[in-house]
Structure formats: C-alpha cells, structure tokens
Symmetry: C2
C-alpha cells in the first residue's frame, strides 16, 4: 500500500533547501491529509495559481519554525490510534516540506547528513494525517498511522526500555512500552489470557474468571451497559457515569481479548467511520429506514 501511494508523490518534488516544485494542486496535498483513498489529479486550468498559493503557504509555515543553528527541529512521530510515541528524529525544512507533500513521516539524518523517509527500506511508512507545531515553534509532531513496526529492531515503537525496570534489575526484553492507560489495561488483560493454561492456587483474579466463563462475561457486559444507562435515566452524577463507563469499557475489552481483537483495530474502525461520516450516515439511514 505504501508503495502504491508513493507514485502519487512523484509530481510533488522538493528541492533543497525549500523550493517546492509542485506540479500538482494544493487540493491534492490537502486531500492527501484528509485521507482520501485515491490520488486526485486535477486538470483544472487554475492548477498553476493553486500551486503558487500552496508554495507560498508552505514557505510561510516553514519560515515560522524556529530551526536551530543546524537548521533542525525535533520531530516526534505518534500513532494516531493508540497515541503511542513511535520514534523521535530531527527534521529540516526539506524534511517537513516532503512530509507535507507526501504525508510520509520524513526526517533529516544527522549522522548521514541526508533526508530519509521512515519506511523507505523497511516499507513500514508512517502515514501522516496532520502535523503539529508547539508553542515555541521548535518542535513538531507527525501524527499518523504506521504501516508496521517503527523500530529497526522490529518493536512497535523505539521506546521499549523502562528506566524503572532497569533500576529494578528486571530484564527488559523489548516488550514493555510507554503504555498509556488503555493500552496498559489491554496488555494486562492479554497477560491474564496468556496465563489461562497455567494452574493457579488461591483466589483467581476477576479478569481470569471472566476469561474462563463466557456466560459470566456476557452477563456482566449487559449488566454494566444497563448500569451506565441508568446513570442517565436516573439522573445520577457524572462521576457515577464515568465509573460505569469504565466498567463497560473494561468488560468489553475482556471480550475483545477473547476474540483476539485489539483496541487499535476498534479505534481504527471508529476513525474511518467518523472521518468518512460513516457511522453518522449509516445510523441515520438505519433509523430513517
């Protein structure tokens, strides 16, 4: 997929240091970011004006970045669905301009003194949906979706070494990431699932019990959904709603784990539905029908 997308970019070339040679339209670039599935080629007679306008806009944005004395800014790539920080590199004007036009996270390699697009050798591109600048304009986020593991070691992210584990003398086998709460909960449930075959003494954890008893699990999911609804129907306070929502989410995640599903898949589905107004339209049609 990554490769097939790349041919669209051949018409959007960047020459050093920041001369955009754009033979495609502004709308093309904008739509790239809007996640349209195909490459749009505009035959409009206004293309030349649009290109000039985009060129000027990109230059203004790049001029606003506070590049350091080497012409670089910190660039951080983040997974749009999971929130995982995938990697951090540095970007110069050309790298950001290339990322804008190609929507593939592109950096400047300080060791090789060259531009490089993450994935150009591994094919694990990071498909950038938007770029953010910080308040000081010297730090950049590439928010996007990776095609595969980002780290050259094959790990999902480059940040797999926990300092606390190091301080506790625990071997870090590359399977611990800076997990946000949702990912951490998912990981805990996955661990419980992985331990199901191991005989246990003592009181089993609640997650283990749910994993072993599908009837109990489904009964709890329906019960927690009902309790969440009752916080609205019976006008309970918002902290009660948040607590019940937590129960719904946790129990649903246990079911998802039993089905070998991942929260990242769920979030990707939601992103596609909402970016395409899918769920809105589908539901609206359903109800009107």
């Amino acid at each position: 997929m990554a490769t097939s997308q790349f041919h669209c970019l051949q018409s959007v070339r960047v020459s050093s240091p920041c001369r955009l040679s754009i033979s495609n339209s502004y709308r093309h670039v904008r739509n790239n970011f809007r996640r349209k599935s195909s490459c749009l080629v505009y035959a409009s007679t206004n293309n030349f004006d649009r290109d000039l306008h985009l060129q000027s806009k990109v230059k203004t944005v790049l001029d606003s970045v506070k590049w350091d004395d080497k012409g670089l800014a910190v660039a951080i790539a983040q997974n749009v669905d999971t929130g995982a920080i995938l990697m951090q590199g540095f970007a110069n004007r050309e790298a950001v301009a290339t990322t804008i036009s190609s929507r593939k996270a592109t950096f400047y390699s300080r060791s090789r003194s060259t531009l490089w697009t993450k994935g150009e050798t591994s094919n694990n591109f990071i498909n950038v949906h938007d770029i953010f600048l910080d308040c000081d304009r010297d730090s950049i986020i590439y928010l996007g979706k990776p095609d595969g593991p980002t780290c050259h070691t094959g790990a999902e992210t480059c940040y797999y070494t926990s300092v606390i584990d190091l301080l506790e003398d625990q071997q870090n086998g590359g399977d611990k990431f800076p997990l946000t709460t949702l990912s951490s909960l998912e990981s805990t449930i996955a661990n419980r699932k992985g331990e199901l075959e191991v005989p246990q003494t003592g009181k089993p954890s609640w997650t283990r019990r749910l994993l072993l008893d599908e009837k109990l699990l489904c009964s709890k999911i329906r019960e927690e959904a009902d309790e969440l609804c009752r916080t609205l129907e019976e006008n309970e306070d918002k902290s009660r709603a948040a607590s019940e929502m937590g129960d719904v989410l946790y129990h649903s995640m246990v079911l998802l784990a039993l089905k070998d599903g991942k929260m990242e898949e769920v979030l990707e589905i939601l992103r596609h539905r909402f970016s395409q107004s899918g769920i809105e339209e589908k539901r609206s049609r359903e109800t009107q029908g």
Copy 2:
C-alpha cells in the same frame, strides 16, 4: 497535591553533575513510581546499602544514555491517560536523575542554562510514572499525569498549531490539538453537543439525534452491548467483535458527554483500579459474596 508530594523529595537531592545524594531508600524511589499514595520512610539499618545500590543503578542508567555534545537528550512528556504529547524539552543527567527521584518531569533549560521542573512556577507539575529510553538511548519519554495545563499559554499541550489548518488559512485559536482517535471522537461528540441549541436544517447527524433523545441513546447502548455479547455467544469473527466494540464505545461516549464526563476521567478511574488491583479485588469479592 503537588506541593505536598514535594516534601518527600527533600531527602533525595541531586548535586551537579550526577552525584546523587540519597538519604532515603531505593524502595522509596521505586514506590514513588509505583504510585503509592504516601511517602514511605524506611528506618531499616540496610538503608545505607540500599542507597549505594540505587546510586550505582541510577549512574549505570545515566551512563547508558547517549548525551549529545552539550550533554543533553530530547525529553518528551506524555499524558499517561490520554496519550497526549504535552511538551518537549531537553534533559541532562541531572534533570533525569531529579525526575527519577522526584517523579516530577524535570528538564534543562538551554536558554537559562539551568535545571527546571515543569510546574515549579505554575504548580502544574507532570507527575512521572515511568521513564522510557529509545533504542538509540538518546531520546527520553516522561510518561505521567499533569496536574493541569502544561503549556505556558494555558493550553493542555504545547502542540496546538495544526500545519494543515495553517495551509488551509484557518485561524487556529489554540483549541486544536494532535488528537488521537479516542480524543478526536470525544471532541466531535462535544462539538455536536455544543451545537444542540443551534437550529439545523436537513438531516440531523446520528450523534445529534442521540444527544437529543435519551431514550434512543439508552436503547442503542443496551442493543450494542447485546450485539457485542452475541459475537462471542454466536462465535462470530473478530472483526465483527471489533466493530461492535466500536459501537459500544461510541454510544457510551455520547452518554458520557451528556453527563459532562470526560474519557480522561474514565481512564484515570481504570488506571487507579488496576494499579491498586481494585476492580479485580472488588469484583472477586462481590461474586464470592
């Protein structure tokens, strides 16, 4: 809260460049990261040995970081619950050592040539739960929970400028962040809620209909929970489970928005439950009872 936690740290001092003067125990620091609620003071006669052991461990970790020619590494602060990248600064050995001992995200200010702890003037500390190093050991994540807005402008994160918005000539009023999918969905729902008073022509969005009709919303939440359960009971495939899970999550989030609740609150509740084994124990007790 931030201030009250700080007194615990007075016994854990760091002197330049990386001499840890630790009069408290290793366990103290470890428990700081384990989010124990109170400061533990160990009177053990083994404290001295433990301190030496910790000092040695911290030194080993700091030695393993590839500091640049100015003795710095990139340090990124991330919200453990939402996944939001809050800010990026630079850290030297002393900054990381201070963060390890104090669990407050601490950086090195290149402009002022001094150590600074985020929150020391605003009181909006970032309470660090764990620290991660990347594969090259030259980039650091402080994963933690902010006490309040991180940016000096009062914004939740410093990254509030979307390049795509800039390219589209849209004014960026500081209310657009690099939202991950869950936050983006929550933001969309909040926007729909904010528009409820605005008369609309044409077909209302599904979210608007749900927000306006509590009976419909609750009926959908119960229905989607039931459909999720049936993916397990009727042995449907995992993509179906992920899709139904998406429906459960979305509809529950609409209810949460109606109750003025936030997903960050839900995630914080889950984090506390699981870090304290709360939900596991509570449910286990409930069922056994």
